[in-house]
């Protein structure tokens, strides 16, 4: 008779030897480092250009993001439409993102069209024209989009908690306002682009089933471009946290839910406590079986989801709890969040729970290392943070070896209500 009540034996994931395969590295003639990871079942690849062109370097709000958005909307030879037509004809996806320190351009394409697409990428990186009409349309549409977003409580909450933690003058705490878009002008876009893209610091990451002549192809098209790896000057900002820690904001008087954000400043990845804190964070609110989910969703039904996470900033980060809960249970939800902090401070986690979390973390990392895009994404994060494979193996050891008393000590050190900023936006 089949015994369905006893779990089949498992191999403990904590015993797995995880390997993070290193990327290959070569340098273009102009000094640009190219990290590649060659693997994958399909004839496709991802090519990402990282520029040090995030809002850290802007002197005017939303300038970095606007430059990043508009750089493919026309060059001196091609209109925005022609560029889009070319890219899309080859079935390529061309995305760009602006972050705090960096801004990226990413190409996803079928291998067979890579060579056809290269000249276009060069053109976009070196010859963007920022046509007035494109700028005008962009401003109008961004303002409209912002207007819609400003009605969403989660959108407002995400902006304000960052402002409270870092201060509005800090790149991590800053956000867009209507008038910022109005102030954007062609000349500033062009200057920012020339300085931080065309003549900026660039790092390239590529992954997929890369063609045999990939290195030469890249060097041929991008090796002569005028990137300057020494162009980034250090800019320093001090954080200026809000004086008050608790906020209740009514954005929509008819709202049926409140967006709750509870956060405290935290270190970046280089701090010795960071890998340990990630284990504690998992237990607290980092996965489906976490304390916050088990209590606030699975026991009380106050929310569809509640999570905690540590922000992935380069300089310093924040430890954040985030949820949208029924308007009438927001207060109760916050109380339970602090209650779960208290439990972690006062009671050691059981061996059973700790063992589960360790297996879960290692198992999911094993899954995360599966596939070339995931591997290069991890390496990109490490490289931008100035870390190497030692960080990975050290983090694995931390997960394997951390003890319940260490977890408790960490909770006593970091999960104190008095360190947290708290915000409810209805």
């Amino acid at each position: 008779m089949l015994n369905r009540t006893t779990a089949p034996p498992i191999a403990d994931a904590v015993d797995f030897k995880l390997e993070l395969k290193p990327p290959s590295l070569f340098t273009l003639d102009n000094g640009v480092p190219v990290y590649t990871f060659n693997a994958g079942p399909q004839e496709v690849l991802q090519l990402e250009f990282v520029f040090y062109a995030g809002n850290w370097y802007e002197e005017q709000n939303v300038l970095a993001a606007s430059t990043n958005f508009l750089l493919k909307n026309g060059t001196s030879k091609k209109s925005a439409y022609e560029i889009n037509e070319d890219l899309e004809f080859y079935g390529a996806y061309f995305n760009r993102h602006c972050y705090n320190e960096t801004a990226t351009i990413t190409l996803h394409c079928l291998n067979k069209y890579l060579a056809d697409l290269m000249p276009l990428i060069t053109e976009v990186i070196t010859d963007a024209a920022f046509p007035e009409e494109e700028i005008a349309t962009y401003k109008q549409n961004q303002k409209q989009r912002l207007q819609v977003n400003l009605q969403k409580c989660d959108f407002i909450a995400n902006r304000l908690i960052d402002e409270h933690l870092f201060g509005f003058h800090h790149p991590y705490g800053r956000y867009s306002k209507m008038e910022d878009y109005d102030a954007i002008e062609r000349e500033q876009l062009r200057k920012f682009y020339e300085r931080f893209y065309t003549h900026g610091k660039c790092i390239i990451f590529a992954a997929g089933k890369l063609p045999a002549d990939f290195d030469q192809l890249l060097n041929m098209h991008f090796g002569k471009l005028p990137f300057d790896q020494n162009s980034v000057q250090e800019v320093k900002y001090n954080i200026k946290p809000a004086e008050e820690k608790k906020y209740n904001i009514v954005n929509d008087s008819n709202g049926v839910q409140g967006a709750i954000r509870i956060g405290r400043p935290f270190f970046n990845r280089k701090h010795p406590d960071f890998p340990k804190a990630q284990v504690l964070n998992n237990i607290f609110g980092g996965y489906f079986g976490s304390r916050l989910m088990s209590n606030i969703r699975e026991d009380k039904g106050y929310t569809y989801g509640i999570h905690s996470y540590i922000q992935n900033h380069l300089q310093l980060s924040a430890w954040m709890i985030s949820t949208e809960a029924g308007r009438d249970v927001c207060e109760a939800t916050i109380k339970e969040v602090y209650h779960e902090m208290q439990r972690l401070r006062e009671e050691p986690v059981t061996e059973e729970e700790l063992h589960l979390v360790k297996n879960y973390m290692i198992g999911t990392i094993l899954g995360d290392l599966d596939g070339p895009f995931q591997v290069i994404a991890r390496w990109k994060n490490y490289i931008l943070n100035g870390l190497d494979s030692e960080y990975f193996y050290n983090s694995m050891n931390v997960i394997r070896n951390i003890t319940a008393p260490e977890i408790q000590e960490l909770a006593q050190q970091y999960l104190n209500p008095e360190s947290f900023y708290e915000l409810v936006v209805v």
């Binding site: 797995f16 390529a92 996803h108 079928l110 989009r145 819609v148 969703r297 699975e298 198992g363």
Partner: protein
């Protein structure tokens, strides 16, 4: 080309195996042939609520997630109008844990009152988060009701009304389970670093003893052909006017579906698409505009939705869309434009097939449509489409009398 093998257990459970030894992981995907189209109009949202209850403990195992996480695995599930799909990924060594968990919840749920009470609340919060507490959140409730008069696609997966979920009883839950969650109505896909013989052995061992159940025979009312255009307008507390239009199109395996998919790309896929270029960039009538469909098994909806630039009149915006459609119907598209949308489709398919989890889900879906090997001819079906067919079907689908229009006005 995605390779797979297939067998069926005596209780009717279909099992597909897709091997990939480049990954250390295994994926176990269980698809149940039940979606919100199988609900009755007075108990909507049930298939989705049920998906939540599937994590509330089964007859022999009090908690689904915990043992899976202990085995280094993670999982999720989703419900659509057509189907409910559960999938988990874990280190391949521990694959038996997934068989144990999935088979027990197919055998029977625990049907605990607490789980039902809590998940009713959780789903209510999900309803609020996605549909009540967002500007334009009610659009698809209204649009489905306008577009479908008899077919159960007229309500959303989350449900028509919060009260339906709030009133769900344990009796309803049990009935639903034993009607739909039987081996004969399910498809199991096992993928990744797995050995065929081992999968067969485990499938027999864990799923074999589950009673077959009765095959659910679906007989849904077909949506009658729409004979005249329908119009609805609402005014709400949103910042911008918006316009939504739908046209009926064929179901998932019909030739027309593939043509409609390419038409949606021509009209609204990406920055070089016709709607975006002409109406956002050139005429500046919309600040954003999209064209898409829902990929439903039964006849679906081709949709255009856009937000109007402040100050543009609704009639002007509609006229703009009409002109773009007229061009498509009256002038043959070029081979180059057709090639563009085919290339984009090829690219999307190739990128989707990168992950084992996505391949496992696709195999289950195509098996539901009738045959998993459809997965491997999908691209050919797109490649075969001609410029004439684009024109012919755009005339057929984008017909005024086949259209539903929702004008969504801002009150400020």
């Amino acid at each position: 080309m995605i390779e797979f093998s297939r067998f069926q257990l005596d209780n009717g459970l279909k099992v597909l195996i897709h091997q990939d030894f480049s990954t250390p992981m295994a994926v176990v995907n269980v698809l149940y042939d039940v979606g919100s189209r199988d609900e009755t109009e007075d108990k909507t949202g049930f298939a989705h609520l049920f998906e939540h209850l599937m994590f509330g403990g089964s007859v022999n195992i009090p908690d689904y997630d915990e043992p899976l996480q202990r085995a280094g695995g993670e999982n999720n599930a989703y419900t659509t109008n057509d189907l409910t799909n559960y999938y988990c990924q874990l280190p391949a060594q521990n694959i038996e844990t997934a068989f144990w968990l999935e088979s027990d919840r197919m055998l029977s749920l625990a049907f605990g009152k607490k789980s039902l009470d809590v998940q009713r609340k959780v789903v209510s919060e999900e309803f609020k988060e996605h549909y009540l507490n967002k500007p334009y959140g009610d659009v698809w409730h209204k649009m489905r009701e306008l577009s479908y008069k008899v077919h159960p696609y007229k309500w959303m997966t989350i449900g028509k009304d919060l009260s339906h979920i709030e009133n769900a009883s344990l009796t309803d839950v049990k009935e639903f389970f034993f009607k739909h969650y039987r081996p004969v109505n399910a498809i199991l896909v096992v993928a990744g670093n797995v050995q065929t013989e081992n999968v067969k052995r485990l499938a027999e061992k864990w799923f074999g003893p589950i009673p077959m159940g009765e095959k659910y025979v679906r007989s849904l009312p077909a949506e009658p052909e729409q004979k005249e255009k329908r119009l609805m307008n609402i005014t709400a507390n949103v910042p911008l006017d918006a316009l939504y239009k739908t046209w009926h199109m064929a179901g998932r395996i019909d030739k027309e579906y593939y043509v409609a998919d390419l038409i949606s790309e021509i009209l609204g896929g990406g920055a070089s698409s016709r709607l975006h270029q002409q109406l956002v960039k050139e005429k500046k009538l919309f600040s954003s505009i999209d064209c898409y469909h829902f990929g439903t098994v039964d006849p679906g909806l081709l949709t255009i939705d856009g937000k109007l630039v402040k100050g543009v009149k609704m009639e002007t915006a509609e006229e703009g869309i009409k002109e773009v459609i007229d061009q498509l119907q009256n002038a043959m598209i070029t081979e180059a434009e057709l090639q563009k949308v085919k290339n984009k489709t090829e690219s999307v398919i190739a990128f989707e097939d990168m992950s084992v989890m996505s391949r496992a889900g696709s195999l289950a879906f195509y098996e539901l449509l009738g045959d998993a090997s459809l997965f491997n001819v999908e691209l050919e079906r797109y490649q075969a489409i001609t410029v004439e067919e684009i024109q012919r079907f755009s005339k057929k689908i984008l017909e005024e009398t086949n259209s539903n229009t929702l004008q969504y006005f801002s009150n400020n």
